[in-house]
Amino acid sequence: MELLTNLALGFSVALTPTTLMLSVFGCFLGTIIGALPGLGPSNGVAILIPLAFTLGLDAVSALVLLTSVYYGAMYGGRISSILLNIPGDEPAVMTTLDGYPMAKAGQAGDALVLSGVASFVGAFLATLGLMLLAPVLARVAYVFGPSEYFALYLLAFCTLGGVASKNQAKAAVAAGLGLAIAMIGIDNNTAMVRFTFGNLHLYDGVDFLVAIVGLFAIAEVFFFIESHGKESAIGVKLEKVTIPFRMIKDSGWTMLKASGIGFFAGVLPGAGASLGSFLAYMAERASSKDKESFGKGNPRGVAAPEAGNNAAAGGALVPMLTLGVPGSGTTAVLLALLMTLNITPGPTLFTDRPDVVWGLIASLLIANVVLLVMNVPMVKIFVRVLQLPPMVLMPGVTMVSFVGIYSLTGSYFDLLLMVGFGVAGYLLRKLEVPLVPIILGVLLGNAMEDSLRRAMVLSGGDWTYLFSSPIAVGLWIAGIAGFVLPFFMRGLYARSKAGLVD
């Protein structure tokens, strides 16, 4: 009953004309961002945050707009996977395996519609899951003290780094660099100045939006300059788009299974949508009678990863909203948005700002329906967008980033810092250092230090206090396992992936 009351509250917020309009606009923009190669959900949302902020949108509207962009980008990622064999974003990699072969065999339209429906099923079920699971988890999170939070932050870094990188040292160094950047500025607890080297611009610390936009968007521009913007011609023809009812009916069960797998992969802090689509695809292939046809254009190989990655996108919102720990790169960017809006995610969010939580959930449900309409009958519009040449797209992205950051802070120093982060992001990506742990470090560094210091104050400096509750010990064990297990799993992963390619 409580759920229905909450939902009613949510829809009363989400169904106002402005919110509805923002949601539709966000979905449209998101699908475009997702479809364009080189502009994924994380950098797409990142460059829009400063703009949403300068527009003076209130918290709910800003959140609705950017989560619609997020969901839209997850839908849109499949379009370039299928038509260009280039994933529009990282989680859409698995969709290329069967999507592109289908398109080459003249079934591009079928693949687009099927994957659109699969995206809808995944995202819709995940939003329902979010609705049911988040309040429960929020209640559990109430008993979390500083030592549990410290362990939780550690877990997020460990699983994210462990899964995201091939080299544990590089994942750990990324987290370290992020945390080191977060320390710059005035220490909240004692008002002492740290690591500013006398530069007044640094007294407030490094704005995480500057870091995010630099590392994601500006670095991407450098990659395009290096590659001369090659590989961006549509290789296959898209004729008439019809709805392949039989194909959708045949893969119904596949979508349901993939949604479940994806959702749980998304809920794990740090693992995110890429893992969701990978596991969903592998599970579908393993349970199929006809393993040979995967990788050659099997419709179920398109439905499974798309349902999986969209479900994971919804699942990743659960830890972000209830614990303040993002489950993926893009939710880390959304966390940055919440922090910019002065909203503290965590269990208290559900009691203090039910309008934000339930308004968000209701508008996600609406966004899904809007996205289904946009991505099935109207898919041709987005296909046309893919013909936008990179020589226009990438300078455009750069200028939007500059104006966004400039209008937010009004300081040329932040623009220089952003270019610096762009150069660093380029070099680090070349060296295969994952960027998401850096963002997570910049975002969570101060909270992590605070929880450690509070734990030490409570215990009078006794370190064993960190392991004093079963929840904390459990989180420590999970964290260490998340960091170490990929060492052993990696061989397995590499072998199965190699098996798919040939």
């Binding site: 320390m183 607890n189 290096e226 913007g229 226009v392 455009g396 200028m399 220089l416 070349k430 030490m456």
Partner: protein
């Protein structure tokens, strides 16, 4: 191999400088048990250890661009830095047209198209930001308006 070793050395130097800098943070009047230094020192140690690990066990060499691409990338960075400095004193239109034109040329080296892209982006984005989103951008330097 070499890249990872150099990166490891850089990290090690960075970590030592960071730890040294952490020790110069003044102690507060009423310190908590952990203080302002301990956590930064731990972070520095983590980065240092990772640096050592990279020196000991480097990955395969990444694919670096050829020297000419490096020059182009360096030039792009210079343009962006210049743009950051120019945006406020020179107004939006001119620096944006130049910077986006240069970036466009670097992605696809066709001068005419690049110039067109620069001007188009500059004017288009200005209209969008100024009139669509209502941001307070200056079109041209304040001095020109008298």
């Amino acid at each position: 191999m070499a890249s990872d070793r150099i990166f490891g050395l850089v990290l090690l130097a960075l970590a030592l400088a960071y730890i040294a800098s952490a020790f110069t943070i003044q102690t507060a009047f009423m310190p908590d048990p952990l203080g302002s230094k301990s956590f930064p020192v731990m972070i520095g140690a983590l980065i240092g250890i990772c640096g050592l690990a990279m020196i000991a066990k480097p990955d395969a060499e990444p694919e670096w661009p050829d020297p000419r691409s490096f020059v182009r990338l360096g030039f792009a960075v210079v343009v962006l830095v210049g743009y950051a400095y120019a945006l406020k004193p020179m107004g939006f239109l001119l620096p944006t047209a130049v910077a986006s034109g240069v970036l466009a040329y670097q992605i696809t080296p066709r001068a005419g198209l690049a110039a067109l892209t620069g001007v188009g982006l500059s004017v288009g984005l200005f209209v969008l930001f100024r009139y669509g989103l209502g941001l307070g951008l200056m079109a041209v330097p304040r001095g020109l308006l008298g």
